[in-house]
């Protein structure tokens, strides 16, 4: 079982849910931090021992000037504008390159080769029974999906896997969600929360993933998120109440389910709801 924890809006509690679910699991579990632009899981589940590290690379073209005839075939072929011909000389722009290799295929003089370029770092470690994997985009790099895909591809786990997704609804979120079997969408009872939830629902539906909603900071005002879920026939799996103590504990990097033990059953209940959601294959989600 691989579950993606996503949200649309940022700051609704994806990481809060991910880390507390991971340490309230009944057995061993894997948690992958796919918010590679701003990974935060390590602040809550710090490495207890050794950390394994590897670099994520993207291939990019390098020009053998002696062989290049400056014919321009590669410039024309590259749809990302990562190559340009200026005054009879070929230039490459590695940060625009998607590593597709099309330029090499069209080059008739054998003047192009590929070299790897570091775009991010993967780190793995253990925290109690949790195996943590983290992707971290190098600062100044744009290509977050490459790091997300690398993290998801490296992790073969027999245990349940939780995937902490980045905010938003664009290609980074798709990269994280596509690799999962089901989705938890975390939202808050505000107009922003609801608006972005509807966008995240659209992504989950397009990817044909079963999904349910977790409402965070529920403040008792009977609201529009509940009405939306009901109208759209979406399962509202659980509600975490608005409690300043949760915000304070999280701000210190503490695990809410440990320092406020009255909330531990909440995360255990989310596990059961998730398992029910995944067992339910008749398309009602």
């Amino acid at each position: 079982m691989k579950i993606c924890i996503a949200s649309g809006k940022g700051g609704t509690g994806k990481t809060l849910l991910s880390v507390n679910l991971a340490c309230q699991a009944l057995g061993s579990v894997t948690l992958l931090d796919c918010d590679v632009e701003e990974p935060n899981v390590h602040l809550f589940l710090p490495p207890g021992g050794a950390v394994q590290q590897e670099t994520v690379t993207c291939p990019h073209p390098v020009v053998d000037v002696a062989r290049c005839t400056a014919c321009g075939a590669c410039v024309k072929a590259c749809l990302f504008h990562a190559l340009a011909r200026v005054r009879g000389r070929l230039f490459t722009f590695p940060e625009l390159c998607h590593g597709c290799g099309r330029c090499l295929r069209v080059c008739s003089s054998g003047a192009l080769a590929e070299a790897p370029r570091g775009v991010g770092v993967l780190r793995t470690w253990s925290f109690e029974q949790v195996r943590v994997g983290e992707g971290r985009l190098n600062i100044g790099e744009g290509m977050a999906p490459a790091v997300i895909k690398a993290l998801l591809a490296r992790s073969v786990a027999s245990t349940p896997v939780l995937v902490d997704a980045p905010p938003g609804t664009s290609c980074s979120v798709v990269a994280a969600m596509e690799a999962c079997d089901g989705v938890l969408l975390v939202t808050e009872p505000t107009p922003f929360g609801l608006h972005d939830l509807t966008l995240a629902v659209a992504v989950a539906r397009q990817l044909k993933k079963p999904f349910g909603v977790i409402l965070n900071r529920a403040d008792g005002q009977t609201g529009t998120v509940e009405a939306y879920c009901q109208a759209e026939n979406i399962a509202l799996l659980a509600k975490l109440p608005l409690d300043r103590r949760i915000a304070e504990a999280s701000s210190k990097g503490q695990l809410v389910s440990r320092v406020l033990p009255e909330y531990a059953p909440f995360f255990q209940q989310v596990w059961r709801s998730m398992e029910r959601m995944m067992a339910c294959t008749n398309g009602s989600y």
Binding site: T12, G101, G142, T169, P191, F192, L199, G253
Partner: protein, 292 residues
């Protein structure tokens, strides 16, 4: 022209609320742009009078012509994104979510059975707001090229601001530090970093400051919900001093932000104590950047 981009690294720290408040405090007309194109919310606070929607096309998607395809699988081997999949009936089909739009499959196909199309990825539109002009975009859920859409919005904003004689451009930026954030930084004169006093907020602010340094863009910082964790607020203050980031001040934790959203109002119209915090930050920003 003053071009302020409001960023945070971490999501949900109050970028949009601050952008709306700043726009009401600036000298009209203001050019206000929502660059969080895959989860745009600013329009919910300021309720613009909308212009027409303009479609946004970017990138490419491959498509296999079933009638010409002989199912040789050459394209499958060439695709580095595992986007070409065999359907149950043996026909090859492109998974649009995985397709990077590079065209390698088209290059290698011996039967010219692959076409590239430029799909619509979303739309953008202008709006009139009570304190000036507004630009907004919506990327289709799950679409790519958010950076290109942000770059388009920033370009259009600059053009519109000059045409309408705006005194300032205020941009509500996307979360993170990746491609759309980098696109939003083009020609920015100041980044307004709104941070949250939490270990996540600190970590993310630190990465954003490093990004800003790479692009040589000056940063000013304010802290939202400072009283949730005063020790972390102090740590952010020290970070600002160390990184030579201008300190703007703090906003207290308040339910007024949620109340304002629910009433489709800016924070200045709701709670006096919080409104005073925001006004002070605005004043400090004006003095710091010599904006009048």
């Amino acid at each position: 022209m003053h071009e302020w981009v409001i960023l945070s690294g971490k999501g949900g720290t109050g970028k949009t609320s601050l952008a709306a408040a700043f726009a009401t405090l600036a000298r009209a007309p203001v050019m206000l742009t929502d660059c969080d194109v895959d989860a745009a919310d600013l329009h919910l606070l300021i309720e613009p009078e909308w212009g027409t929607r303009i479609p946004f096309f970017a990138g490419y998607k491959a498509h296999v012509e079933e009638t010409s395809c002989v199912r040789c699988g050459t394209c499958q081997q060439a695709c580095r994104f595992q986007a070409i999949q065999s359907r149950a009936d043996g026909v090859l089909a492109v998974n649009a979510f995985r397709c990077e739009g590079c065209g390698s499959c088209q290059t290698v196909c011996p039967h010219a059975a692959i076409a590239l199309t430029q799909p619509q990825r979303g739309y953008w539109q202008k709006g009139i707001i009570r304190f000036g002009h507004f630009l907004h975009a919506q990327l289709d859920p799950g679409a790519e090229n958010s950076g290109k859409l942000v770059a388009l919005l920033r370009r259009e904003a600059r053009r519109l601001a000059e045409e309408k004689g705006c005194s300032i451009m205020i941009t509500d930026g996307p979360p993170g530090i990746g491609c759309p954030v980098i696109a939003s930084l083009a020609d920015a004169t100041q980044i307004v970093l709104i941070a949250e006093p939490s270990c996540s907020g600190y970590h993310d602010a630190e990465r954003l400051i490093l990004l800003a340094k790479q692009f040589a863009c000056p940063v000013s910082i304010c802290v939202n919900k400072w009283d949730i964790n005063p020790a972390m607020t102090d740590a952010l203050h020290r970070l600002a001093e160390k990184a030579q980031v201008h300190w703007l001040g703090c906003i207290r934790y308040s339910s007024a932000f949620v109340t304002a959203q629910r009433k489709h109002k800016t924070i200045l119209e709701i709670d006096t104590a919080v409104a005073d915090d925001v006004r002070q930050i605005w004043k400090n920003m004006c003095v710091h950047t010599a904006y009048r």
